[in-house]
Amino acid sequence: MNARRRLLVAPAVLALALTAACSNSSGGSGGSGGGSGSAAALTGDCAQFQPYAGHSGTKVTMFASILSPESDNLEKSWADFSKCTGIKISYEGSNDFESQLPVRVTGGNAPDFAIIPQPGLLAQMVKTGKVVKPPAGTVANEDKWSPVWKTYGSVNGTFYAAPMSANMKSLVWYSPKTFKDAGIEVPKTWADLMAASDKLAKAGGAKPWCGGIGSGTATGWPATDWLEEIVLGSYGGEVYDQWVEHKVKFSDEKITTAMQTLAGWMQNPAWVNGGIGDVKSIATTTFQDAGAPILAGKCAMLQQASFYKAQWPKGTKVAADGDVFAFHLPAVNPAVPNPVEGGGEFLAAFSDRPEVQAVQNYLSSSDWASSRVKTASGWVSANQGVDKSLYTDPIDQLSASKLTDPTATFRFDASDLMPAAVGSGQEWKSLTAWFAEGQSIQRVTADIDAAWPQ
C-alpha cells in the first residue's frame, strides 16, 4: 500500500513542476509578442492617448500597498487610458506589500510595476538588479517635479522611479465641534497645542488625543512619523539629514530628547487613547481605526498624514465647520520655519516591454496626475504641471500649497530613507515595544542603533 502510494505522489509533483514551467514560459513570450502590433489612430476623446497607442490587447501587472477604497480611485484614474489604448492594468493591493515585494522579486515573480512608498525599499530592489531604468519619456516628464524628488527616486545617482504622488504628513486631524465646545482655537505653536491638550484633558470629556500604530507586519510606522515630526520640528533639516545618515545616532542626546517630548505627548496617560483604552492600546489599534473615536466625540485630535482623509467613512464632512478638519502640526522649536514632513510613492518597473513603458510614461505625465486629482480628492501631486485649481478639497489645497512652498523645511519620511533593517525593521519593532511594553528610551535607541547594517 505504502509503496504504491509513493509512486502516485512522485508523478503528481512532477506534473505540477512541469505545469508551472510551461505556464511561465508561455506567459513571457505572449507578453513580448503583444507589443509588435501597429498603432491604430485614436480618435475623439481617445486622441490624447495617441502617444501610448499600439499595444492593444496587452496586460501589465501592478502591485502596491494601496488598498480599496483608495485604490478604486487609482483604477478609475487610468480607466480611459486603458480603454483607449487597450492596455489592461491589472492592479493588486496588499497590506503586506513591504515584505511580499522582495519575496516576489527575488523569487523571479516580479510584477511589471510596483508602487514603492519608501526610497529605502527602492534602493534594496535596485540592488537585486531587477529594476528597469525608466524610458526617455518618463525621464522627460520628471522635470515637472522639483529636483529634490528626483533624488528620492534615484539610487546612487541613477534615476529609477518617478514619483506618482506626494503626501503631507505634518497634519493634525481634529474635531471642530469638540474644539468649539471647549473654547479652543486652532493651535499655531507647539506651546498652544500642548496647552490645548491639557485644557481638554482637564475638562474631563473627550481625551485630547487618539492614536494607533497597528498596521499588520508594518506595525509601528506611525510612531516613527511622530518621532520624525518632533526631530524635524525641534532641530530643523540639517540634524534631520544627519540622523537619516546615522551621523546623529538614535542614542544621541538630540534624539533621546525628542523621544522624551514624544513620550510627554502620545504616551501621556491623561491625554490618550480616547475611546480605545490606555497608552498601550495605541500598539494594538490599527492606524485606520485610530481616528474613528474623533467622530464619536471620544477624542479630539489625531496626528496623521493627508491620505488619512480617505479613511473617514462616507458622508463625513471634512471642513472647518464640519465633522473633522486638519491643521498644520506646528514646529516644536518656533525657530524652525514651517517644517513639513512628507512622503511619496514611486513607480518602479521590473520589465521593459513596450506596453510597460507606455504605462510608465503615462503615469509620470502631468496629464495622468491631473486625471487622478480630478477622480477624487485625497491625492496630491507635486507635479508643477497640475493646475492647483483642480484641488477641490481644503485638505488637498493645504497639502499642495505646503508641499510646493519654497520657504518650507520639507523633508522626506526618515524611516523610509534609512536602510530597511532599521526603517522597516528594528525601528518599527522597538518603537512598538516602547509603546506596548514600556521599554526604556535607552534600550529602544540602543537596539535601533545596533540594527544599522555594517
Binding site: A10, S23, S26, G57, K59, T217, G277, S424, K429, A436
Partner: protein, 335 residues
C-alpha cells in the same frame, strides 16, 4: 494570428483559458513522457532491467530533491556565514548574534516554550477526546466537528482568534468574545489580551492546539481501536480497570503512534510562523524563530542573519524528523 489575439483579448477569461490550455498540454505531455518511459522500461530485459528501473523511477525524485532541497540547504548554510547581502565573509558572527542578542534569545526561548507546550497540549487533548468520544453515540459527528479546524489554514484560524481576543475599553461595546466573557463573569477591567506577557504567547498556542487536536484525536483513536480485544479482556480479567487499564495497557499499546503524533505536531509547531505573523506580527514579546527568520531575510534584507536562523531551525527540526521516521518504521514493522 493578430485577429484571434484581439478577439481573445476581449474575453475577460482569456487568461484563464490560456492557462488551462497550458495545463492540459503539460499534463498530456507528461503522460506521454511517462508512457514512453514505461514502454522502454517494459521492453528492457536481462541484466539492465533492474538498474534501468531504479534509475527511471528514482531519478526524477532524486533530481527534484537535489534542486528543491539539497541545493537551497547548501546555499543557506553558505549565506549564513556572510553579511547582509552576501558580499563579505563574517565567519560565525551571525550565529554569535543569534545566540547572544537579548531579543533573539527571547525568540529562541519562545520557540522552546512553543515546542514544549503546544504539541503536548494538542496530543494530550487529542488522546483524552479519543478515549471519551469512542464511547459516545454518534461519535462520527463529534469527531468531524473536532477535526474540522484542520481544514482551516493557520492564517484563517489566527484571524478567527484575533477577533476572539480583541480588546476594547470597557466603556465601549466589546467585539472580542474573551473580553465580553470576562466582563460577564464580573471582571471589570479585562486586560488587552494580546499585550499581556507572557499570557499572549499561550493564547497564540491555543490556535495551534485548536487546529492540531483533531488530527491527534483521529490518529490516536484509530490506534486505540486497533488494540486487540483479547488484550483488553485479559487485562480486565486480571483486575485492571479504568485508569490502570489506560496506563498499563492502552498507552503502551499505542506508544509508537503517540510518539509519531507528538513529533509531527512538534515539527509543525517549529515551522509555525503564520499564527504569530497574523496575530501580533512578532511584537509584544511573542516572536518565534520561523517568523524572525522570515522578517530578517525578507523584510530587513539581513540575508546572513536570516540564513543563520534558518540553519538553527533546521538543526532543531532534524532530530525530530529522524526520530519520527524511526518510530514510523517501528510501527510499520509491528503491523
Amino acid at each position: 494570428m493578430s485577429v484571434t489575439r484581439a478577439l481573445l483579448a476581449d474575453g475577460a477569461w482569456t487568461d484563464a483559458s490560456v492557462k488551462l490550455g497550458n495545463m492540459v498540454g503539460a499534463v498530456a505531455g507528461f503522460l506521454g513522457i511517462l508512457l514512453v518511459i514505461f514502454f522502454v522500461a517494459g521492453r528492457a530485459s536481462g541484466r539492465i532491467a533492474r538498474p534501468l528501473a531504479v534509475v527511471l523511477f528514482l531519478g526524477p525524485a532524486v533530481l527534484l530533491l537535489i534542486v528543491g532541497l539539497v541545493a537551497p540547504l547548501v546555499r543557506t548554510v553558505y549565506l549564513s556565514f556572510y553579511n547582509d547581502d552576501g558580499t563579505k565573509f563574517l565567519g560565525g558572527k551571525n550565529y554569535g548574534w543569534a545566540l547572544t542578542t537579548e531579543s533573539v534569545q527571547h525568540v529562541l526561548l519562545n520557540t522552546l516554550l512553543w515546542l514544549a507546550v503546544a504539541p503536548l497540549a494538542a496530543t494530550g487533548l487529542g488522546l483524552l477526546l479519543a478515549l471519551l468520544i469512542d464511547r459516545v453515540r454518534g461519535q462520527a459527528v463529534y469527531k468531524s466537528l473536532i477535526f474540522m479546524p484542520m481544514a482551516i489554514s493557520l492564517v484563517g484560524a489566527s484571524i478567527i482568534f484575533k477577533f476572539v481576543y480583541d480588546a476594547r475599553d470597557v466603556s465601549q461595546s466589546q467585539i472580542g468574545l474573551m473580553s465580553q466573557l470576562a466582563i460577564s463573569l464580573g471582571w471589570h477591567h479585562p486586560p488587552n489580551w494580546m499585550l499581556s506577557q507572557p499570557l499572549n504567547t499561550f493564547l497564540l498556542m491555543v490556535v495551534m492546539v485548536w487546529v492540531q487536536t483533531g488530527f491527534a484525536m483521529v490518529v490516536l483513536s484509530a490506534a486505540i481501536n486497533a488494540i486487540p480485544d483479547e488484550v483488553t479482556e485479559a487485562a480486565r480479567l486480571d483486575g485492571a480497570g479504568g485508569v490502570k487499564l489506560f496506563w498499563f495497557v492502552t498507552v503502551p499499546m499505542i506508544r509508537t503512534t503517540l510518539v509519531v503524533v507528538l513529533t509531527t505536531v512538534m515539527i509543525t509547531t517549529l515551522k509555525a510562523f503564520d499564527i504569530v505573523r497574523t496575530m501580533t506580527g512578532g511584537n509584544f514579546g511573542t516572536q518565534v524563530l520561523a517568523n524572525e527568520m522570515y522578517s530578517q531575510s525578507f523584510v530587513q534584507f539581513n540575508t546572513g542573519r536570516g540564513s543563520a536562523l534558518a540553519v538553527i531551525l533546521f538543526l532543531g527540526v532534524l532530530p525530530l524528523v529522524a526520530y519520527n521516521i524511526l518510530q514510523l518504521r517501528k510501527e510499520r514493522a509491528v503491523r
